[in-house]
Subunit: 267 residues, 2 copies
């Protein structure tokens, strides 16, 4: 067993406010890849224990996730097996490409929606709705979507086509200070973990799983907080860009164990 | 000589505030089609007289147009010949397709420019500059241009492509009430002139020229006051659309005499 494991976990769990239910979402997202994949109570216990999470906190979080319709739990004798609901599996699949892409997708085609004049309050509602649908805000009432327009958004003036390189002011608008600060913090953690990884520590499969889940957890927490835009939409020195490549460098050193392997190691 | 001429001229000259210098611009625009075309003082006198414009007013207007660099006048014995300057000929050529198009051009490709956030005053300046360059305003800071983007406008977020049918609110935004009222007035004049034309009056060549110049004059005065947009950008019942076809129906009954013919008739 590697002596690098404890410090690595410490680094990862101190890098931000870790919510247990959210970490469990990340566990499912990274390890339960196929529809119907189950994570046993015992495996869940072992992974979360590796992360320093108390069993009581796991119990509460699983309860919440069941209540929210994210997971279902099947009793099997004295233990239980947890799996994602259809809704959760769908949402998980939907964000998977974005989280795991080694390079941010840069589509050839986009569409712009221009909203009619409206009150600030109506615009805020519209902003929230469209950003939930993957649009990003270019200017007040102007929304950029990837690919061709779906027929859904009616009432907008819309154009489909190719974009020119985003201007400086738009890059700056996408570079919120608090987000930048959090990416810088993440990058420092990733740098330290990459230094450790360079010493080629040997982790158990469960340790590997725990580490990679936490790396992905911290990454997706920041990534999913802003619109999905190609690198050209951010300043050249945007830490989100360097974090992406460092996350992948790190994941390359922590290859994902299969669920079957992890279950086998339990007995 | 037709008895329809006087009432027709009366209709046309009472349809709006006719500025003499501007009518002379229309005379050149419709009759001096080729670079270097000259209109003699005598022909100018005859055409404007037909329109009921006093010689003194013509003299003042020609002086103003010379001062503004729109025309040059060459003395030739006791009379003079007037022609457009290069600048004026260029501007005249530039608006010609728009004025004479039987159907408003509906390009396949457009580009949108999205400006960065700025003060109201800066935006007003930008609006003026871009609308002079043929852009139309879609929303505050969002400008629509026909065809592909020229490399010039830097600092915008821009997209090139195809547009969807303009929504109702944008059609309404393009349908300013005062413009609508003026088009309705023009349409009434055109309707009365078309009724006269149905009686197949016979006009002299000079009368034909005077009438068609005034028709075009009233048409371009309204047309060039708003951006050059396809019909789909206006409400279905927009009087500018019906005016365009009626202008052309009327011009069909008033075929343009050549300058040579008009000059010949003078002697």
């Amino acid at each position: 067993m590697s002596t690098e494991f404890e410090p690595a976990i410490k680094l990862l769990t101190s890098a931000g406010n870790i919510r247990v239910w959210s970490v469990i979402v990340s566990i499912f997202g990274d390890l339960a890849r196929d529809w119907g994949d189950e994570i046993s109570g015992a495996l869940m216990g072992q992974l979360t224990e590796q992360m320093g999470i108390k069993p009581e906190a796991v119990r509460v979080a699983l309860h919440r996730l069941r209540k929210d319709g994210w997971i279902v739990s099947k009793k099997s004798g004295r233990s239980s097996n947890h799996s994602l609901t259809e809704m959760a599996f769908g949402e998980s699949l939907a964000v998977r490409p974005r989280i795991y892409a080694r390079h941010a997708e840069a589509p050839k085609e986009y569409h712009l929606l221009v909203a009619q004049p409206m009150t600030q309050a109506d615009r805020s509602n519209l902003d929230a709705r469209l950003m939930r649908d993957g649009y990003s805000l270019v200017a007040p009432g102007v929304y950029l979507g990837k690919g061709r327009k779906s027929p859904d958004p009616a009432g907008f003036f819309s154009m489909e086509g190719a974009i020119s390189p985003p201007p400086h002011w738009l890059q700056q608008a996408n570079a919120a200070t608090d987000l930048r600060d959090e990416y810088i913090l993440l990058e420092q953690v990733l740098d330290q973990l990459l230094e450790m990884a360079a010493r080629k520590p040997t982790f158990t499969q469960t340790q590997t799983a725990a580490l990679r889940v936490l790396v992905i957890h911290l990454w997706r927490r920041l990534l999913l907080r802003h619109p999905d835009l190609p690198d050209s939409f951010f300043p050249a020195a945007w830490p989100g860009i360097s974090c992406r490549s460092k996350v992948h460098d790190l994941l390359d050193t922590l290859p994902r164990p299969t669920l079957a392997t992890l279950q086998d190691r339990l007995s």
